[in-house]
Symmetry: C2
Subunit: 156 residues, 2 copies
């Protein structure tokens, strides 16, 4: 299987949105995707880009992506958050996800980043096994907490 | 109790670092704090600031802080992550933490942010109760995963 990893361009965004929707369906959250190609362009390719993205390409088609951005730890300094690592179902098992993941870690290494962080669903045993092979630490005692858009809008 | 909430300045950073260390001690992780005042200045007040910070001031002394930054959701768009909400022990129970937290949510509201997110330790029942009063959702099925600095440095 011949594939190429490169940084995403605005032209990739329709295919990137398809991958985002594919992951949301796998996580049983299809209705939660509110973003559009236009939003992705504004946020990712405007004056102050909010993320970077690697894509994996096979025969000029985007079949996988790793979307990430900077975060900040008050203990360590500059960190990277891997928001989404997605390979389309028909292209799994060909080391594409592995290569995308490693591209992010190698990017972090070149930037002298202090931590690479992401989240995983506790029932996604395959993903957890994949990450543990790299020695990644899965934290059992931290809980994610969120206020959603309506709660923010109505806050006073 | 008279206190004032304002954006942090570089002059506050030594007191901010004291608060960071106080929280790390509470979380039984004192040795994990590797950051310096100089780092905080570079990351927070350089050309591309990685965070914003509100401080609470009593008698010209910084007694609390809420440090936050932008993140990006591929489902929702621009979000805010609250990295640290800290009030020094002697000043708790005076609504300072509440006011700092609300300042971040109000900031998010003015910026049309789609989500405010943070993490909490599952044994920190007081904090969880505080957040649940705002209707915040605590996710039980997401796990934080990390590669640390040495793992990144040695990655190849």
């Amino acid at each position: 299987m011949d594939f190429k990893i490169r940084f995403a361009t605005p032209e990739d965004l329709p295919q990137i949105l398809d991958l985002i929707k594919e992951l949301a369906a796998f996580e049983k959250e299809s209705d939660a995707v509110k973003i559009s190609v236009k939003d992705l362009k504004t946020y990712g390719f405007g004056d102050s880009p909010l993320f970077k993205c690697f894509v994996a390409e096979v025969d000029q088609k985007v079949v996988g992506m790793a979307l990430f951005y900077s975060r900040f730890s008050t203990w360590k300094g500059k960190t990277v958050h891997l928001e989404d690592l997605i390979v389309t179902k028909s292209m799994r098992g060909k080391s594409i996800g592995k290569t995308l993941f490693e591209a992010v870690v190698i990017y972090a290494k070149t930037q002298k980043i202090k931590r690479v962080e992401w989240v995983v669903l506790d029932w996604n045993i395959d993903a957890i096994g994949f990450y543990e092979k790299y020695g990644a630490k899965v934290f059992k005692d931290w809980r994610t907490v969120q206020l959603d858009e309506d709660q923010i809008k109505n806050f006073n």
